[in-house]
Amino acid sequence: MAMLSVPLHWRKYKELYNLKGSRCHTCGQAFFPVKRICPNCRREGKIEALPFSGRGRVYTHTVIRAPPEGFEKYAPYLVVLVQLDEGPKVTSQLVDCSPEDVYIGMPVEACFRRLRVQNKEGIIIYGFKFRPVDGALKR
């Protein structure tokens, strides 16, 4: 996990920057991240691009207190599963929210943040995180 491979990260920009996922036109299921084979329809599934709105709700949450390499500076931080309005769940960080304030069902929206920086020489990886929508912090 330590190598910040430039091509690997660049390939993810559409998904990381703009939550561009996919949908199977045949069965209607939406996928994030992008799927090239529909698990339901297999090769009969016609996959098309689907931009996600970035809105969803917290499905479950935790606080990472023993961080992995590269995330030491950010600990403790909230990691959540967000169930996007379009259906799929996604793993992400929850920001602008304290651990005491998060709750299952909290409405959230995608925002744009630094995901990682390996060191002062390498590239900076940007991408989505989630934050509570206006008013979500008062239950």
């Binding site: 996990m1 330590a2 690997l8 993810k12 991240p33 499905y59 479950t60 949450h61 935790t62 606080v63 990472i64 207190r65 023993a66 961080p67 992995p68 390499e69 590269g70 995330f71 030491e72 950010y74 931080y77 990691v79 959540v80 599963l81 799929p88 769940k89 996604v90 793993t91 992400s92 960080q93 651990p99 299952i104 995901l115 991408g127 995180k129």
Partner: protein
């Protein structure tokens, strides 16, 4: 769905060996593998060269000690040239999948004596590097990428489980208490100390709500078993243990793509197939080894294997049924939590414990009376791989 054909012949476990699990500063990966293998070979009374194929479970020699090609390394260090050796990797299910590969090699009629083992050397690296290495068990691009850790993924399950089924923090702690109690009776366990629920609830948070005492340790260790066809097992041992079923199933790599994040469908699928092949049901099982990488995982395992309905596993602990003297003894060696989790070795050491129980050789007061049928469940990652093995006393 599975096109399983019946095996050509029955398979028996004819020799077992493990190291103790813990921080072995003075032993590297080679030494651990040798120790466990020698113990199995001596028990079966064979020469190493009689082994026809060797399957080695190892999750991450590369990240932990910079070593790939681990099977070749082990075969070499054991002096087994030219015996073929295969490294099997399925994260924490590496050992179980290695066992299944060996089982299939014998059951198919191809080989008459196969070694299956697992080894992991985890303590040569520091905390955050090891955490990153273990993150390879999940979806590195879409889970670990955002800062999720392995405990974090199971914590997400625990949080949702507690929300849906209303169990308390203390009920979850009882699982760890039981594991440590059994660990205190197992001379090879990583942790030999007994704990209380207060100890659990006061320990530092790792990933809310999971605390240090909810999480299995990183252990160095190795385990090995020898497999032979049942009709030839008498050559090696008077106490053959037969493999009635050894099944495997897969599920999505990432937690977020699961059908239900509180259910391991791979466990359910593998268990259903195993019981069908063995023509047994959960009620027939006398002793269990489940994959308790975290306390929550043990509860999910009991439910997904079919021992109780979803959300009800805590009731078995409320009643003390999962202790060695209870109706459904679970992880009598301390499991992963207290027994230790040397990743690649765990799937093998689980079955080794079942073998000891079925032979009546479990020390320290953890022997289950009249144990005849045992079941082991080994899981990879957050549930993408599951192996279920049912063994029966000969």
């Amino acid at each position: 769905m599975n096109n399983y054909l019946s095996r050509k012949r029955d398979v028996a476990i004819v020799g077992v060996g493990t190291t103790s699990f813990g921080e072995h500063w003075d032993k590297g990966l080679r030494e651990l593998a040798l120790e466990a293998s020698l113990a199995a070979v001596e028990e079966a009374g064979i020469r190493g060269k009689e082994i026809q194929e060797f399957y080695v479970g190892n999750m991450s020699g590369g990240m932990f000690v910079g070593q790939e090609h681990v099977a070749a390394l082990v075969a070499d260090f054991l002096g087994l040239k030219p015996t073929p050796a295969v490294r099997v990797e399925a994260a924490c299910a590496s050992g179980g999948v290695a066992l299944r590969q060996g089982y299939m090699a014998v059951a198919s009629g191809l080989y008459d004596l196969v070694a299956v083992g697992g080894v992991e050397k985890m303590t040569d690296v520091q905390g955050s590097w090891a955490t990153s290495a273990l993150a390879g068990a999940m979806d590195t691009e879409w889970e670990a990428y955002f800062g999720a850790t392995f405990p974090g993924i199971y914590a997400l399950m625990a949080c949702r489980y507690m929300h849906e089924y209303g169990i308390t923090r203390q009920q979850l702690a009882e699982v760890a208490v039981k594991s440590h109690f059994h660990g205190s009776l197992n001379p090879r366990a990583h942790f030999r100390n007994k704990i209380t629920t207060e100890d659990v609830e006061k320990s530092p948070l790792v990933a809310d709500p999971l605390r240090v005492y909810d999480c299995c340790p990183m252990s160095d260790g190795a385990a090995c078993m020898l497999l032979a066809p049942a009709d030839k097992a008498g050559k090696y041992t008077d106490t053959s243990i037969f493999i009635e079923a050894c099944t495997q199933a897969s599920d999505t790599l990432s937690l977020f793509a699961r059908r239900d994040i509180c259910t391991l469908d791979a466990t359910r699928e593998a268990a259903q197939q195993a019981f069908a092949q063995a023509k047994l049901s959960p009620g027939d099982v006398d002793v269990l080894e489940v994959h308790d990488c975290f306390t929550i995982a043990e509860l999910l395992a009991l439910e997904d294997l079919g021992f109780c309905p979803k959300g009800k596993a805590v009731e078995l602990y409320d009643e003390g049924q999962t202790y060695a003297g209870g109706k459904l003894p679970v992880n009598t060696d301390g499991g992963l939590k207290a027994g230790g989790h040397a990743v690649g070795a765990t799937g093998i050491k689980q079955v080794v414990e079942l073998v000891r129980q079925l032979r009546g050789e479990a020390e320290g007061g953890r022997q289950v009376k009249n144990a005849e049928i045992g079941l082991a469940q080994n899981v990879g990652g957050s549930g993408a791989t599951a192996v279920v093995t049912i063994v029966r006393r000969g």
